[in-house]
């Protein structure tokens, strides 16, 4: 069955989740890959559509199959079953010369850069042109703009051993863009870089995406990479696509456990274990409801905690929370004990919902001494 369909059927997400119409940049249909019978499938019936101009992130733990998935798009890995289309053309049916020609339309950058140590920066960028059979003069004409695009104009004659990791990756990016591909595949392209260089490399990719309208498929195990660059996110777990959607929606309303755990360093979806252990599943005498509030957009700026206090005389006790920005939209998750809410809980929930917040009662907490005193006083 189709995993994408399954997810959209159960999707309760806000509108605006659909990409632009037209021929998708990449369409993956029922892709499976098994390396050996004993270890089971690495990819299990994955279907995914990536629209033109998108930066599509694929996240998963190591071993989730994300690298295999991206390598199946240009057939560095041949899938055991399923089909892959790039710009409407089936790649999986191609072999030999036809496949090599089709690959020129798909750029790829790698975790370990994979630049040739025997060639200068200009020589590395020239490789795709030489492979494509361009004349020497034509190659000489095409290299400078590419080096300028990635900011390596002054390093044309340097060998990779004289470059930093970030510079090597920019050589990789220039090489990948040389033949003007319609899709750029990034296989953990920032995983070997320090945070600052990662930031610069992502800024360059974002810039290229906007300037050239290039579709980017990016796999990573770092959620912040996706937060910073991806327009859509797919979550892989044990070779299966468990979640897919617009980045903001996946961050704000993750549906799968894997997505939630990936987000824990970024968005406070999951309570610290010590706090989570104290939650009771059902209300007991002397307990207060624990609310998880997701702020998106404008509501993130409203003083809602103060609102709860003044409107409902609630004594909020904040257990966990964090506000972050995805693109330019604020996203916050706050978990608090609504001390003394009692019978006013439905009113509290509808008030929060009317402010455009997503609220759910995730459990109940026995009143601490402090909350108790105040609660009695109210």
């Amino acid at each position: 069955m189709n995993a994408v369909l399954a997810i959209s059927e159960f999707s309760a997400r806000p509108a605006g989740d659909d990409g632009p119409a037209g021929v998708p940049a990449v369409r993956i249909e029922g892709l499976s890959k098994t390396f050996s019978k004993a270890s089971g499938p690495v990819l299990d019936d994955v279907s995914l559509t990536i629209q033109r101009g998108e930066v599509h992130g694929i996240i998963g733990r190591s071993g989730a199959g994300k690298s295999t998935l991206v390598r199946c798009i240009n057939l560095l890995e041949r899938p055991s079953a399923g089909r892959v289309f790039v710009s409407g053309r089936e790649i999986t049916s191609l072999r030999g010369r036809a496949l090599r020609t089709a690959r020129r339309d798909i750029g790829m950058i790698f975790q370990h850069f994979n630049v040739l140590s025997s060639r200068t920066v200009a020589g590395n960028v020239a490789l795709p042109f030489k492979v494509a059979g361009l004349s020497r003069a034509e190659i000489a004409r095409r290299i400078p703009p590419l080096l300028e695009l990635v900011g390596l104009s002054d390093k044309a004659d340097a060998y990779p051993s004289e470059l930093s990791g970030g510079q090597k990756q920019r050589v990789g990016i220039a090489r990948a863009l040389a033949l003007d591909p319609s899709v750029l595949l990034c296989d953990e392209a920032t995983s070997a870089l320090d945070p600052e260089t990662t930031e610069q490399t992502l800024a360059l990719l974002r810039d290229i995406n906007r300037k050239l309208g290039l579709t980017i498929v990016l796999i990573t195990h770092e959620m912040q990479v996706l937060r910073d660059i991806a327009t859509r996110v797919a979550v892989l777990d044990h070779g299966r696509l468990v979640e897919e959607g617009a980045t903001f929606n996946v961050l704000a309303f993750p549906k799968s456990a894997v997505a939630r755990s990936f987000l824990s360093g970024l968005v406070a979806h999951e309570l610290p274990p010590l706090v989570a252990a104290r939650l009771l599943p059902e209300a007991v005498p002397g307990s207060d409801p624990v609310l998880r509030i997701v702020f998106t957009g404008e509501a993130a700026h409203d003083p809602i905690v103060a609102d709860l206090v003044s409107q409902f005389q609630i004594v909020p006790n904040i257990l966990h929370g964090r506000i972050d920005y995805v693109g330019d939209r604020p996203l916050g998750v706050l978990t608090l004990v609504a001390g003394g809410a009692g019978p006013r809980l439905p009113a509290v929930l509808s008030r929060l919902a009317s402010l455009g917040l997503f609220v759910e009662v995730i459990g109940h907490a026995v009143r601490s001494a402090v909350t108790c005193r105040h609660g009695v006083a109210v």
């Binding site: 089709a102 020129r104 060639r119």
Partner: protein, 231 residues
Amino acid sequence: MPFDLLSPAVTALLFESLKQTAYMVSIAAVVSTALGLPLGVLLVVTLPGHILPLPVFNRILGTAVNLVRSTPFIILMVAIIPFTRVIAGSSVGTSAAVVPLTVAITPLFARLAETAMREVDRGLIEAAEAIGASPLQIILRVIVPEALPSIVAGQTVALVSLIGYSAMAGTVGGGGLGDLGVRFGYQRFMPEVMIAVVIVLVTIVQSVQLLGDAAARAVNHRIARGKRSTS
């Protein structure tokens, strides 16, 4: 000058032998490189999981290479006399000695080149595949250039072995320094000739090694050299 100890006739012989050795070694080196490098490439690219996997062919080729390599040179020289006669037109003489020398060194160089090219990172080959490079383009533009420093180092090892083998060429009337040392130094009890031959051979081998190391360094861009970059 060591040559003052030798009679003019022996000195002339020494130069003649040096010329013969140079002739045998240089031709054998050029031909074994021309044959050994493609053989090494075949040994690598036909490995299972490489760019042109042909496991059965790879095993047959590997066995053939091992067969030649495990045959002692002195036996190989005699064993391939009919082949030598076809190639060189004769089975004796300096030119005839080039044939067994080439046959013996080619598999050695092929194995050394193979080892060098096996070390080329799979990621580099994949990067070339990803830009649509054909197997031939991958061999010529990625595998050989990336392995070149190690190939040159392997070639130096092969060349030194070749000089050693050439000393046995006297068996088929090939002449050369080794032959001179055996016939004059050993059989005619002229230790000064033996010493002169050894000095010349040691000098040649040292020079080959030094030049080989320098060449390997010159083509090696894997490690940054000279000034450190400040960026």
